[in-house]
Point group: D5
Chain length 92, copies 10
């Protein structure tokens, strides 16, 4: 089941660079892990903003929440979740 | 080059049903045509709303505009376009 | 799987009363039918507004969309869907 | 009398983890206590967000306020309260 | 139990004057009736706007909804309801 | 002359409790003083939120500003002022 | 006593030109009348928009409402009223 | 003096096609005329929307208003005007 | 050329009082200076809010920016600038 | 390919002046560098606000993102990107 997830990243501008780099590294690893699991099927950068638009494929709302809240940078995200359904005009 | 396009469909509730059905048919054909061309790579329904979230792959902003404004229901859409870039954590 | 669905009803103030009454009747019957099916588990009126807050229990986003778009008054609704998950502090 | 209460949790990302854990524990206990009292009848997590949608059953607006403001994390909440009434199409 | 009710009146500018006058008359009578019943305890005009701020004193959310939806101009209102509680600094 | 004043209280969640208690005490005394002066005629708590809806009766906009800005917690308020006039349907 | 009044003019684009011209004429005369009375002390056009920013000098909120609601185009206005007070840094 | 002008075009979807075509033609001619006069120095389409972002170079706010309100489709525009100044980092 | 400038003052509630008083003093002097220069022709307090509505008379957008950004409290302001033009119904 | 980029600068009012000056200097140099490269073709100050409106000419969304995120003050910006296309009425 698909969800469009829009994540704005709100990192304080004066955050300690070393701590931020470590956090980004952990975030990247976790994101790669999820993509390889097949749950996190698209991840695009919003051009010009510290934000991304992603597509998740999960069994349930609960699974989606567990995945998103497991992201190391979850406390720094403003997230909007849009549940998706099959469009009658889609050829997929 | 990818764009996330969010389309809200604002059809007057009292629109003539026959006219609307004809318009939807033309819209569906045009959308299928564009998907087959490879420009319109994802089309998802927003669950619960007359709206969709789509991903377009175009050569330029101009091509994107030409495609979107060629949709028969374009006059009934409120559209938001988000230009996408490659995310450093994406495995694609 | 639970969804909170917030429906604002935007009926034109000058709509033909007879037509509106017929539409409301069909809406009521369909809503009762869905509640009896176990998919539509809570339906509350927002005090003071032509709006309701509902809880749906569906197998998927697609099923939710099919149910909502089958409501006779769907063209008159502005709908917001919030996917729900189990809260760690819930005793249910 | 029913109220839909939407709570967004705004905990500073750099809050001391130990202090936050203690606060969450107190919050959980208080929430469970209220649920057992029958005043707090539904508590759902908003999938993907540090937020919940809840239904309270109180004797009055005053009782609702006393309950909500007694929550240990009340200072970290942005709360929207929607008073609910019986919907004519509800089968309950 | 008190509620602050904010009503914006959205009458189409080109509505038939005679019909509007009749509607306003019915609205005024109903409003006076409710004030005399003790349920509708304050009614103020928002200076400069076709809008009012009112205070209702009702037994329940349901009673509030019944009263508001019984107003002849209810279909032309955008209403916001704020449930009120006793303020610890109020001397009343 | 009446004004509806809506005050949202934005106290930092990590404010020193002792300092906050002192400030609240001063605020309460000042609010009581104003109510006794007849200028501050209604003070209601917004159920579920650190906010209030108040009615002031002042000679002028200037007097209203002087009163509000004299409140000890004024720096922590987001205030919206709505000037009120007599409503033609009010029986007062 | 001063008020800043911001008026957006929402005339339907397909309104009968002759009727609109007559309405504008009546509006202009009424506006000139009020300015000559000393109540309507500034009237500026918002560059690029069918809107104006005005300053009224009235005895009370009620007088302001009576003046504004007497404008022929009042039904076509969205109005925001900001009550003004003397600024401590103003040299007037 | 430069202004950034953002114009959203709100043409009713059911407007008579012939009338709309005539209006668009007049609009195009007027826009070309203004560009040739040197007042209207940039005109870009917002990709995916019936909207444009333009840069005007005018002697005054009044001149800007006269130019914009002279556009045949002015009644169908929602316009936002942003006055521009020289940026200290601009190399022009 | 006239501009309506709306300034909201966002001073952190816990700012050092002495530093703030010094800043306000500098702000007041600069504001008086500008008013005496004829550029800053109206300055009104928004009743009930740390905000003001002002009218500037400048030769250009650039001059306006230089004046506003020279205000000592500029870093604490949220500013909205509305370029004004002569209104056809104004008697000035 | 053109993009309109709107940048609001949110520098904390109490940021260390020396550090800020250094950052601004680096920002200015980088901006000049980009303008000389032909990618950053217009940079205007929004009169009265710490904000700018810019036009970029890039090969792709990715190039735009790389340029913007390379700006030293990127962490302090709120950015809105609007992809632009050729307008049928533009004479360029």
């Amino acid at each position: 089941m698909l969800y469009c997830v829009m994540m704005d990243v709100n990192v304080p501008a004066d955050m300690d660079p070393a701590e931020l780099a470590k956090l980004r590294e952990a975030e990247k690893n976790r994101a790669i892990e999820m993509q390889k699991s097949g749950k996190f099927i698209h991840l695009w950068r919003v051009a010009g903003r510290p934000a991304n638009i992603s597509i998740f494929d999960c069994e349930s709302n609960d699974e989606l929440h567990d995945l998103l809240s497991s992201l190391p940078m979850f406390p720094y995200f403003s997230i909007k979740v849009v549940p998706l359904a099959k469009h009658p005009s889609s050829i997929k």
